[in-house]
Each structure stands twice: as structure tokens, then as C-alpha cells.
């Protein structure tokens, strides 16, 4: 599986050749044994579990006795929309798309500012932006749980200060779909800028000089050089948000209410309450497949974009 072909150390003398060859053999063996443990781990605790979900979704594997044998029935019911889950998926897909696009748009100027303008302060400012949020997902979600809601901090502040009448809170701040999206956006902004920041910081600045030498205006230089070069970072950022958002079930639980119920919440309930593992498996696989297809599609798009540029 693993074969070493290190060609960097060619030599004239046959004696040295032999030594190099034996060194290469030794390295080859070492490489293989280094990889054995991590690959074994991934096989046992990642590849096999995911395969077992596939097996479960078609009834090859069953952990409860009441189930109905090997068939594609559960898939058929889901795909033809006989149960609510397909509609729920479309809703969650839409929410994740909105959140990802908005967050990328909000984070792009920040990444640009840090990479191109902040100069020697860029890493300190970057740390300022992400440090508090690397610490605790719950802290961030909890803050909003406390802020939102009819009796939340925001509404109680408005009523206390007399800006709103008692018994007439702002309904938009009550739990539901919009709060779920606000909170998810809030949670991801600091992280989402990292791939874009990395793309911008590693770009060849001489291209911009060349553009200026050839008479390009600043805007033109930005649209023709900086922006296309940052696109891979933009795509990476998008998925950075989209993947966890479409599988989200914690935030809906906290600030979603019934209107904020998502596809992930359904999977959580199907397994967590032990209702129907088989349907849960189908939904889980569907989620993974959707993410994969979308990722492939976007990678294509970026590559086509680059081809069009050149």
C-alpha cells in the first residue's frame, strides 16, 4: 500500500547507492508502521461506524428485534416525501444556506482588513477576534438564550426602560427560526474568517503590483486579483459554516421553539428517544450525502472560475 520512492538522493558510487536503497527500504518500513495506528483507529472508529449506519438504514443490521428485515422501504418513504422529514430537510438546507452566505459576507471584510491593512497588528487583532470564542460554544449560545425570548434580557430591558409596553414584547426576539439563524451566525463569524484570511495572506502580492503597473485601478485590482485569489478561502469558509449548521440540533433546542425545529433535531430525537433508529440512519446518511455533493459541486465551480480567469 505504501511505497517509498525518494529520488532526491542519487549518487554515483554503487556503494552509496546500496546504502541509499537500504535507507529507503528502512524509511518505507517506518512509514508503514507509523501509519498503522492512526489508520487502524480511523478504520475501526470512523469507517466501520459510518458503514454500519448504511447497513442499519437498509435493515441488514438491527439492534432491536421489532424491525422489519432487509429492504429499501425506509429510504423510499423518506425520498418520496411520505413523512415530514424531506420538507424538514429542505427547510434546514435553506436555513444553513442563508446563515453560511450571510456569515461569509460579514466575515470577508474582516479577513481582508486583517490580512491587507492591519499590518503588524494582524495576529493580535486576529487573536482578539477568535480567542473568547475558541473557549466555549455553550457560553456563546447561552448568552443568546438569555438575551432572546419573550422574557429575555433584551425584551426585559425594553420594557424596564419604558421603550415597550408591558405585555407587548418584540415577537421577533421570541424563539423561532430567525433566532436560530442569528445565534448560528454569531457562533461562526470568528472562525469563518480564518480560511479567507489564510488565502489572502498567502497570496502573491507581486500580482497586485503588476496589476497597478499595467494601469489597473484599485477596484479593478481588487476584483481581478485579490478577490479571485481569495475564492478558495471563501469556499472553505462557506463549508466551515454550512456543514455544522445543517446538522445543528443544539441551538434549535435552546432558542428554536417549535418553529426552529431542524433536520438535525429530528435525527437527535429519532435516536435520543429511541423512537426509530432506522429512519434516523436514513436521515443521517442523507445529510452526509448532501454535504458531499455540495462540496464536490463547489470545488468544481472554483476550478472553473480559475480556468475562466486564465
Amino acid at each position: 500500500m505504501v511505497s517509498e520512492n525518494d529520488t532526491s538522493e542519487k549518487s554515483d558510487t554503487s556503494e552509496k547507492k546500496g546504502r541509499v536503497a537500504s535507507l529507503a527500504r528502512r524509511r518505507h518500513r517506518v512509514t508503514r508502521s507509523l501509519l498503522a495506528l492512526p489508520l487502524g483507529w480511523l478504520l475501526l472508529f470512523f469507517v466501520i461506524p459510518v458503514s454500519l449506519v448504511v447497513a442499519y438504514s437498509v435493515g441488514i443490521l438491527e439492534t432491536f428485534t421489532k424491525e422489519e428485515g432487509v429492504s429499501l422501504e425506509t429510504w423510499r418513504i423518506f425520498l418520496t416525501g411520505e413523512n415530514v422529514y424531506m420538507l424538514l430537510f429542505i427547510k434546514s438546507f435553506r436555513m444553513a444556506l442563508i446563515v453560511a452566505v450571510v456569515v461569509v459576507i460579514l466575515a470577508y471584510p474582516i479577513a481582508y482588513f486583517l490580512a491587507m491593512i492591519a499590518d503588524k497588528y494582524k495576529y493580535s487583532l486576529l487573536l482578539l477576534m477568535i480567542a473568547p470564542f475558541m473557549t466555549n460554544f455553550f457560553m456563546r449560545v447561552m448568552a443568546w438564550k438569555v438575551l432572546l425570548g419573550r422574557q429575555g434580557v433584551l425584551n426585559s430591558f425594553l420594557i424596564w426602560s419604558g421603550l415597550r409596553d408591558e405585555g407587548n414584547p418584540i415577537e421577533g426576539l421570541a424563539f423561532g427560526e430567525i433566532p436560530v439563524m442569528i445565534v448560528l451566525g454569531y457562533v461562526w463569524i470568528p472562525f469563518v474568517m480564518l480560511p479567507m484570511f489564510a488565502a489572502m495572506i498567502s497570496m502573491d502580492r507581486r500580482l497586485l503590483e503588476a496589476a497597478a503597473d499595467l494601469g489597473a485601478s484599485r477596484w479593478r485590482a481588487f476584483w481581478k486579483v485579490t478577490f479571485p485569489l481569495s475564492l478558495p478561502g471563501v469556499v472553505a469558509s462557506f463549508f466551515f459554516v454550512f456543514i455544522p449548521t445543517i446538522g445543528e440540533f443544539v441551538v434549535p433546542k435552546l432558542v428554536g421553539g417549535t418553529k426552529g425545529y431542524m433536520f438535525g433535531s429530528a435525527i437527535d430525537d429519532l435516536f435520543g428517544m429511541g423512537l426509530d433508529w432506522r429512519t434516523g440512519s436514513v436521515l443521517s446518511l442523507w445529510l452526509v450525502m448532501a454535504v458531499f455533493v455540495l462540496a464536490l459541486l463547489f470545488m468544481r465551480l472554483v476550478r472553473f472560475g480559475r480556468l475562466a480567469e486564465s
Binding site: T63, A143, N155
Partner: protein
Amino acid sequence: MIDIATSKWAKWVLIGIFVFEIIFLYAPVTLLYIFSFNEGSVVGFPFVGFSLDWYETAFTNRGLLLSIRTSATIALMSSTASIVVGLLMAIPLARRKFKAKTPIMALVLSPLVVPHLVFGVALLITFRSVDVLTNGFLEFPLSLPAVAIGHVVVLMPLIVLILIPRLQRIDAHLEEAAQDLGASGWRTFRTIILPLIAPALAAAYVISFIISFNEYAVAVFVSGPVTTFPIFVLAELQVPVRVPQIIAISVVVVTLSLLVVVGAEVMRRVFERRYQVLSQTAGLLGVADADTE
């Protein structure tokens, strides 16, 4: 740098956006800090009075403290194990050439595109089906080790992504020179590679620990009867009267991890600077130098 970054107005607009988003990000968390000192049991206005009661309540809550200990144990186990397997993986991927490199890289990174929820569910099915598949001969109890096992899979790709760039920046000649001088593979690793990646390893460890400590989606499915800190917090948040003490303990946890993250970052910079000086000196002395970014 000759695009809009050089124009004055763009600069001020961008600074404005940056400040605005910083405020947007910090304001809710700041409110939590403030309300952790509020005397009332309802989290909301008006502010009743200053008190440290909620901190006292939190620190005498046995379930809460126990869940913190559980999560710390899991984080310690999983970040230690994942640093080891991550390093074993990163070294060949960064510094050796072999045919299966691309598929292996894809496999290592694939947990990143699987939502944690799905992975948690997959692990649950796996651990549950051990006794079904072996006819009840073997059983894998859902508990603390099960969570740690799952976290290693989640953490491994992140660690590999942190370590590979650092490993690639190490001059291959250093390694070859050491081996020409008769150092064994292990000794080369210990005396050349390890010291050079120590700062990156430390950073990866801290990040892994914090992620594992706060991880919920995988843990909730495979923890069985064990209650981790996030699981405890999420359950308590559903009970309004418990919210203030949860806020208090979160303030403590966030402050502590903030200190660790900032401290680690400062340490890393000090190390990197020292290393840069060293490699620049080496460059002056005519030693091949591939490490000046």
C-alpha cells in the same frame, strides 16, 4: 498591496466594520459576565443588586463539579491520544513520498465533512451492535472511554492540519545530516523534529483539550450514564431557576480557558521568534535554510 486596501476611505470603512463586529461579538458575552453578579434569580432587567451568591451556589453544586471532572478526564485522554496518532499520521504525510498519500489524506480529513451529529449516531450504532454481532458475547458499555474514542476521531484531522505545515517547514537536510552522522530514526525524531515542532504540538494540545471539553454532539449519544460538562449545562439551561449558577460557572470556565489560549499563543510566538533568529543565524553561516516563511 495596490488594491483598495491602499485607499484611505476603504481603510476607515473596514476599521469601522471591524470595530462594529467586535462589539457585536463581545456584547452578549459581556452581558453574561454582568449578570453573573446579579442578585436576582431571573436573568433580565432590572438589575437587582450585586452578589457573589451564584458563584457560591455553583461551586457547591456536586453534580456540576462532577461533570467538570468527567469532561476534564475525557479531554485529557482524548487530546493525549489524538496528539500521538495525529503526529504519527502527520510525519509521513508531511515528510515522506508514497503512492497512497492522496487517498490517505482524504481519509484523514473526511471526519471534517461529516456533521458531528451523524458521527455520534454512527458510533452509537457501532457500540450498540457489538453485542448484537457477537451474540451477546462481547459488550461495549457506553461511557467515558466511548466518548474519548469518538473525540480522538474528531480531533485527529485538526491536529494533522496544524502539524503538517510546521513539519514541512523543517529543512530535509537537517534530518539527512543527522542520519548521515549515524543517528537512528528515533533519535533524529527526538533531537531534530520534536524540538522544532514543540510549540505547534503545544498549541494543538491546548486546542484539542478545549474542543473535547466542550464537545456535545458526539458525547450525548455515546456517554451512556456519564454526564459531561456540556451535557449537564444543556440540561440545566432548560430549568430557568438554575440558569444563573450555570452562567456563573461558565464565566469561570471561559475566563480560565481564555487565559490558557492567550498564554499559549504568547508562548508560541516567543518560541517561534527564537527559532527564527536561530535559523537566520544558521542561514548566515551557510547552512541551507528553508524556514524564513
